[in-house]
Symmetry: C2
Subunit: 773 residues, 2 copies
């Protein structure tokens, strides 16, 4: 099916760098709290209203989770045993306003405006209050500084225009944070209910409080230190004395023309980074360091950090403000949520909501990394380091699954252990191992980071290659077959020879052979050490090569098409004509068995291989496969549209590519999947970048060579993006006349423009007319 | 694999009619409580020791269950929502003995003997106690009268040989009965824990108590009335006053030569049969009616009822006491557990234990009914009436699964609603619909019960046929295909075109066509009413016939074999050589995905079709398929051995058939699966009868004609069994000289002896020499 993009009116006014909310609407508190979230890869703070009306708040720390036993009504051997759920940690982002003893709600104001400024990295609230005909203004700026570890800063100023009276700010910290209940929607909700933490509270001074939260099962703990700076200096009251929360009430008398300011600093320190004994002092140091800088300096630093980010990451679109806003919004959230310390990753919803329990999936390697590797390769290294750090758990999981050798990475996880409680759409997705291998190879190719390959990458490649040898087997008359797996398409489960999986496994096996060969010749000592540590037998690489060469891919001669799996063409096509629109997504309306019984795809599966392994297919092949599989794909997954868009561009169907691009670029901003309340769709956000750069821009890396093939979508005047490759940063500007390449970093870079090799040198922009493609 | 029958020493002495325990061994309390269970199809009482040492007791009422919400760690649309668990109801079968103030344990006696008498239908305990050199004897007889509804009777006599002193009998009734905890073994344990009932207690007189137990969710309730008759008459004490239990303490002074007797009667009445208000009076009437008969009369009546049962049901084996004992034990338990009121069925463990939560599976139609239809056709009618009574629930379930027409019977259930919480080995086993249709057809053929067909059977056939039309579809170049189902073999799940399923569906469709044709011509009014009620379209039967004719069966030309499913031969064969013996059953040692990935069968699947639909295959075909599939079958299911035994006999491999028969006949009695503690294996028990009669005896019903082809297994001198067919009962006696047929009931019966039609008339036995086959 062609994607059903609803050309809805944008929720927020179009603006190239800002998302502006001009009305506080109760029904949309949760959605907006997701969209206005701030984060820095470690700490995420949902953009609930300052007074947390509607209880849409949530503060997350990347990698900080609670576990619980998984109970199956019918159990079986090897099922994942423990869940992991990203926790809402101590909530500090709540300040309620009282004027002359009356609570003020943003829904009842003379004016309300919140601005997420994607260049400044701040969320600003501006409100005008009318009290008995007297006016005062409320302004707050929030930020989660990118330069700090886990710091939340909020600065509130209240100015009286002609108001005389009392203003109170109730600044609350709640350490008894709880999670959403499970619902019928399998994508959201946790089985962890009730109080989740053992909480202790240490009053520090009149303006400062510290909480410690310890989980009951996962063994994690954190300290949260919160302090305030008030001008004029007033001593707050502490009206309640609950052991799990604290409220500071600052009371001011305001006269016309006067302004008061209250700054709030919250710093978190966890046992993910610090010894337990050191938590409080680390948290305290966090607020003290911030206090010494002060709000203005922190805001300035944030702007500088963001300027640096956009310098490389920005994608400019000329001629469509909606898409321009959409893609920047997506890149902003992607970068905000991504872990960058080698111990954390990025969840399917980033740090913006509770959806999917904060779990990391293949989204990282197939969606986030292919985008980020060309703008933030240093972060990609950290994401892959995270995987390397979970390798022992993946080996352990492989043994549980009965595999004698190799490692089986978790389908969904926070700490590396498998948390997938429905294996047909979970652990059966063995392709994640090849996906990780693909990302390793891609990262090393783009970055030239041989050191990573030698210290971590090769081991990942070897252990994943070994797993395929144990899952797969030679079947007489067919070749090397991989049975009983689920491919990316979760509407088809537990099949034999999923083409995507087999192709990716083939690439995985070949990369492993290359990695071993390279180690042998370039770093024999490293190789010897690794061989010993992994008990690598001399004939293993040859076995990998043979399995790769004999890899079986199901092919239907009559249709002249590869089959998504052995059985795909032997199933009836879903009756799309008689499926009402409200029955999508199918997964919420049909039993899995009914869905599995049909030719119907949730998302790109074989089509994803057409993109990732594009040099293995002719354009004509791609066209035929795109047409066939598009017709049976519902795009019920948010991971689908971007891939179809890229492949549509690849086969030069630019109108179709453009339609898919629209769906990706504003998916969350327009809430087209109607579940932004649970968090943004991170994979799609990264997919948006790929849609532009790999789609319209035609970026590929084949045989260690960068290739670009930029085309201009008809509705645009032009667009521009930057590409990191081997230490160089190439600026690519496209308009109706053609493409201009400029080297922003590096001395020279050779690459393919279309099929022609070109070289661009520092200071010498290169122009290629459209006709040259 | 050939079945791994361990030729263990029998646990109990060999005896043709009795199971005798001569030692009370703590480690085997639970196993023996299963084996010594007594039941009458409504009430089941485990054979725990009288003093319930080791807490192995359990009293069950057929169809009496509690439900609970099923919670899935990852939920999906259409998953079964509620569990059902057969409950342990008020436990009345406990009497503890105190002699001179000391508790007496059966593990410390001078002599202990318990006898399950399969002709008498009683469990007798005989113990000799030595107290300070003085001797007394304890004797109790238990029975669950077949002639009553839900009555348990126990008569205890204690005789002093030369003992003088005090004897106390503590008769306890516990109404706070609880279930086993879940374990890692998916086959046992319930999620219902803690107190399960709201209990009320009504003291009646000094000897009598009544409890009412009401479930909290399923809406069921029962009353249990218990009374005692003591000789000499003493007034019991009531030492505790718990609201959920009651103990009667009868104290006697015994002198040498004296005997005391205490009879205990417990009667149950449930809302399955009575209005709630009437429960207590129904239970009271139950004990009063029993009291009026008295223990001796009840025992005599029980013996008479059993004589009548064995008259037809008995299978005699000459020359192997172990097998003789085994088959009688199996038939005894089968008949004890089977529901016979049209509202209840038979669980996989009968009324003997908590395994599989008391659920009814396809075992009824494929194992119990094919045996019982030739000995107790009136009970088969009731079992199928039970299915008919669940037809509305099955229609509802079909709608939940997205099927527009037809009915989908529950894979596992008590009340008819689907309770399967792991659909790949549950709801995906759509074949249960065809199995039920097969049993309907078989019952009507054997019984000639046209009235059943017209009032119930035809509707079942039509609704199941309709379901196949909605599950299946025509696939270009293949025919009518049925995708995404699981066949009987649970080591292969969610496959396309499981051959067994497709063959059985084909038969189902054809039976439905025949049923409609017969109704049209024989009972047009009934047909019209049914057509209207089911909105049956005129062209539906023709569509069924066409689908049946074009049914696709996967076939491998190179191997010249039908494949168990489309993909079966494309998977690697399980590495049996490197699987240690302790890794069986595989399901307790490997992830389902790993098992599914291989050619390995838990049980007979395609081989079952060779038996059920035997006229569709040549003997040579059967041989080749038997050989291939036997080699990849572990028989990890207790449903496997009997089917392989029958087919082995069919292909005249009598030694192999004999080996499988041994495995079936003494499976529970020798506890070869090591889980008898959780209940007997009902399907296998019925399979034992089939192994003899359908296997060695060669009984089949093809094209409405009974066929026998009796052969004598080498180790036996002879065997005999009876076969009901169309109102006649044929006695079949086989020995080395040949077969003698005698008509026990009916005037004449024509049938095939081998391939020759013969007729036997009343009073004129017919002998056929072995050579005539």
């Amino acid at each position: 099916m062609r994607i059903q993009h609803m050309h809805t009116t944008p929720i927020y006014p179009l603006d190239p760098w800002q998302i502006i909310e001009t009305e506080a609407t109760r029904a949309e508190f949760a959605r907006n709290a997701t969209l206005f979230a701030l984060a820095n890869g470690t700490l995420g703070v949902r953009g609930a209203l300052d007074n947390n009306e509607g209880d849409a708040a949530g503060t997350f720390i990347n990698g900080f989770y609670e576990s619980a036993p998984l109970h199956y009504p019918e159990n079986a051997y090897g099922f994942a045993r423990e869940s992991q759920t990203m926790l809402k940690v101590a909530e500090a982002a709540e300040v309620r306003l009282q004027v002359n003893g009356e609570w003020v709600s943003p829904t009842q104001l003379a004016a309300h405006r919140r601005t997420l400024d994607m260049r400044a990295g701040t969320l600003t609230t501006e409100q005008t209050l009318s009290v008995n005909g007297q006016t005062l203004t409320y302004r707050s700026v929030r930020l989660v500084p990118w330069a700090a570890s886990a710091l939340f800063v909020q600065s509130i100023t209240i100015t009286s225009h002609d108001f005389s009276g009392e203003v109170k700010l109730w600044s609350r910290i709640n350490a008894d944070t709880r999670l959403k209940k499970v619902s019928d929607d399998p994508r959201v909700g946790s089985h962890l209910q009730g109080q989740l933490f053992d909480v202790s509270k240490q009053p520090f001074d009149a303006h400062t409080i510290e909480f410690e939260q310890a989980t009951r099962r996962s063994g994690l703990a954190l300290a949260c230190a919160v302090t305030h700076v008030s001008a004029p200096l007033v001593v707050p009251e502490h009206p309640d004395d609950l052991p799990t929360e604290e409220t500071f009430v600052y009371t001011y008398r305001l006269q016309p023309g006067e302004t008061i300011q209250l700054d709030k600093y919250a710093s978190y320190a966890t046992t993910l980074q610090h010894p337990r004994d050191y938590l409080q002092s680390a948290a305290t140091q966090g607020v003290q360091a911030a206090l010494m800088q002060g709000v203005d300096a922190l805001i300035a630093q944030q702007r500088a950090d963001l300027d640096e980010f956009w310098q490389v990451a920005d994608v400019r679109i000329d001629g469509d403000d909606a898409l321009q806003q959409g893609i920047r919004f997506n890149l902003f959230h992607l970068f905000q949520s991504v872990g960058r310390d080698g111990r954390t990753n990025i969840g399917a919803k980033g740090l913006t909501g509770e959806g999917y329990e904060g779990h990391t999936f293949w989204d990282t390697e197939m969606y986030v990394i292919p985008a980020m590797v060309h703008t933030q390769p240093q972060i990609v290294r950290q994401l892959l380091t995270y995987r390397y750090n979970t390798l022992d758990r993946a080996r352990q999981r492989a043994r549980e699954l009965g595999h004698k050798k190799g490692a089986s990475f978790a389908w969904r996880t926070i700490n590396g252990d498998e948390c997938s409680a429905y294996f047909p759409a979970g652990s059966a997705q063995y392709h994640i191992n090849a996906d990780i291998a693909y990302a390793v190879q891609r990262y090393v190719t783009v970055s030239g980071d041989v050191e990573f390959m030698q210290t971590m990458g090769a081991e990942i490649l070897i252990e994943t290659a070994r797993l395929w040898m144990d899952i797969g087997s030679y079947i007489e008359g067919r070749g090397f077959c991989i049975c009983e797996v689920t491919g990316p398409d979760e509407y088809t489960a537990l099949v034999n020879n999923n083409a995507f999986t087999n192709w990716m496994a083939q690439a995985n096996l070949r990369c492993a052979v290359q990695a071993v060969d390279a180690l042998k010749s370039d770093a024999p000592d490293v190789y010897d050490a690794l061989r010993t540590r992994l008990s690598l037998l001399d004939d293993e690489p040859a076995q990998w090569a043979q399995a790769a060469d004999q890899m079986f891919i199901p092919y239907d001669a009559e249709r002249d098409l590869y089959a998504q799996d052995d059985s795909f063409f032997h199933k009836p096509i879903w009756d799309f004509a008689n499926t009402p629109a409200e029955h999508y997504p199918l997964l919420l309306n049909y039993h899995p068995m009914v869905i599995y019984r049909h030719q119907v795809c949730k998302q790109a599966d074989l089509v994803l291989a057409l993109y990732l392994l594009g040099d293995q297919f002719t354009t004509e092949q791609k066209r035929r496969h795109f047409d066939y599989y598009e017709a049976v794909t519902t795009h019920d997954s948010s991971l689908s549209a971007c891939i179809f868009g890229i492949v549509a561009a690849d086969i030069d169907d630019m109108p179709t590519a453009y339609e898919y691009f629209i769906a990706t670029a504003r998916m969350d901003l327009d809430d087209t999947h109607r579940n932004v309340k649970d968090g943004v769709h991170i994979a799609n956000m990264a997919g948006t970048w790929q849609c532009v750069v790999n789609g319209f821009g035609g970026l590929r890396v084949y045989h260690d060579m960068l290739r670009l093939r930029p085309r201009l979508p008809e509705p645009w005047q032009g667009y521009a993006f930057n590409v990191f490759f081997r230490g160089a940063v190439l600026r690519v500007e496209v308009d109706a006349r053609g493409t201009t390449y400029t080297l922003l970093q590096g001395e020279r870079l050779s690459f393919l423009h279309g099929e022609t090799e070109v070289t661009v040198q520092a200071g010498q922009p290169l122009h290629r007319p459209q006709s040259a493609l």
